[in-house]
Symmetry: none
Subunit: 210 residues, 4 copies
DNA sequence: TATGAATGAGTGTTCATTCAT
DNA sequence: AATGAATGAACACTCATTCAT
């Protein structure tokens, strides 16, 4: 009521609220589990608006996914790793990636859901390959600088490294619930998180060190 | 149907067919996306039988999950890593884990689905912690032997190592669809698979080597 | 359908149609026997609407029951029995009750169904005790006036009298089908109905007369 | 197991157990609400046996109903009311009827369920009209004797009296759950039961007294 | 720009009943 | 005489989506 009155009748604001709610719900329940009704309600919007602005649940998911990927890619670029010595740059990337997953837990479940559907929701995207290419290049540059400086060994594949940097953080976090049951530990305990990050930094640095 | 006529009226066989079909469907579409109707049809069974033997979709999922975990744990134990030198043992475990994921792609999506639901379907299991504990001990033994032999550095945490061994394979495979779009590569190309495995072995060995 | 096109898109009208159809079906087949599909169809509504407006079959039954009770209580209050001499008032109440059961046969089967479920569907209602209390008071007033006038004997319990007034009509009608088989009579023959009403009036008046 | 072993493999015993369990379940949940599975289990019998001995759920209900009616009719005959003075005989019948309903609560819900289905389950019965006729004759005899003795007024219809005797007890008990909610009383409180019986005796005696 | 009302096709689940031994 | 296995039709309930204003 009051909220509805003070809320600006702005198309952009409505779209943004819908996208935000959709990201939450898709992340929480997966694509199949999320409910259009619930998204509309959480967005303080009308269900009809979702179809007006996004066309379908699938297309809404597409946009949510694309936005999620562009967000992390953009945050990576903002790190300005080129200004750091190669070793520091790499450590910073590992740490950033880990922290990003911690701060944006939706990202992981969204990506999982996207892969369950065999990435069909982003298959048409052109922005995502472009931005990913930039990430790859960024790591390649760090590697090149490290090799030139003699601190990194040569012939480390940038893409494999990238994947591994993501993997060691992502896997720990996405599987934290089953992990907790299987190994009877609290994966999210602050000290446990610190230990994992340290382990991951060690893993990556040993992998590239000359 | 002819099949229906020749199919034996055996509770165990029917249960097994249902479990098999359920594993397929849960893996293919996630828990929420899988359809009880479809599972029944694929199992050449009646929907009623699913409820007769398993009680509910949720309990069916529980059993599928538990079975999936016990299968990999049992395969790991069958490796007889104790009979190998520590370095060989570790390499064999990395290779086995990778190959197991490749041969049993359902495992990964099942685990993802379990985690989306915050592991509630295995929370009550007692078999799983027990078998996981054995895996951990197995790796701990390898590490201990390696340290004693002077080939491994000391103070490598067995659980972290375990997680990392899984992570470097699991992540690559679970995210192969989005990865293919983002990085415009065929993650499943045989050569790409070989390269990834080699990279992973390198990662793990560098991590523990003295 | 033409009907569908001319039918106004009004929430209140739809709710009312659903309630009406539900009353019919619950009365005809009992709570367990009634079918949500059938109710929707008879209401010229969509099954989804039932869940939208009423939440569940059980809650729909609750509303139907509450409405049924409030209707008869309201009709009783409309009799203005206070304006009649006590004897006439009592006779009018007996006659009214009998006629109400005849005119609203759903009432009886609804109440039977409610009692089969041990009244759980109205257990939370606050309106019903209030309106019943008013009925009781109404009869108490008639009794008091009759005693004061010397036409009624003292110490007749109002609630017991109320129950008996209902009983002598209700039982005859609810058990008319088995009664017809057992005693090989047509319980609904107009003359039989008249005779029963006369008998009931006699029963009640003899019970209270001084 | 053990029970199954000690239980005699007797067709009659099995049928009796099934009938007993069916009476319970039909009484508890109505015809539509009762479950064949549950009846079989409660009878410690096999579901197949129900179909073997009774043919269908409907025919099982028929037998249960018929048995229930024959039981009360037989108990009424056992009262030997002919040996009592008419007033005592009538009072004893009222009291017996009340007590029978209290002791056999299934009877009431079975009859309600039979009537919900418009008595189709007993429509073919020939035993029931015959035994009901005997009940009617019994009351007629009491009335005749009472009139001859000058304690009863003439021209009281035996069937109407019969119905009323049943009504004043039956209604109170079948509607005890809704009654408890509406009038906020415990209908089954021992003192409440005594008061109701006394009220009913008074009602019937005043009705026939000369 | 926005919304409440409405819907058809499904979704997990349950049922009375029959088959095979 | 008895039973476990199996089934199709139906059940209450839910969903993404469209209509009417």
């Amino acid at each position: 009521m009051t909220q509805a009155m003070t809320r600006p009748r702005s198309a952009e604001a409505t779209k943004a609220r819908i996208l935000g709610a959709a990201k939450q719900e898709f992340a929480r329940l997966g694509f199949a589990g999320a409910r259009v009704d619930e998204i509309a309600e959480k967005a303080q919007a009308n269900k009809r608006m979702i179809y007006h602005y996004f066309g379908s649940k699938e297309m809404l998911f597409q946009l949510v996914l694309e936005e999620a990927y562009l967000d992390i890619r953009s945050a990576e670029q903002a790190l300005k790793l080129d200004d750091l010595p190669p070793l520091d740059a790499l450590e910073k990337l590992v740490t950033f990636t880990w922290q990003y997953y911690l701060d944006n837990p939706e990202f992981i479940t969204l990506v999982n859901s996207a892969n369950l559907h065999r990435a069909k929701h982003i298959a048409e995207s052109t922005k995502l390959p472009a931005s990913s290419q930039k990430l790859n290049q960024m790591v390649q540059d760090i590697l090149d600088r490290g090799v030139k400086d003699g601190v990194f060994r040569p012939n480390v594949d940038a893409l494999q490294l990238n994947i591994t940097i993501a993997a060691v953080g992502y896997y720990y976090l996405t599987n934290r619930h089953t992990g907790a049951v299987l190994f009877e530990r609290d994966y999210m305990d602050p000290q446990a998180l610190d230990e994992r990050l340290a382990f991951n930094v060690e893993t990556i640095l040993r992998l590239v060190r000359a």
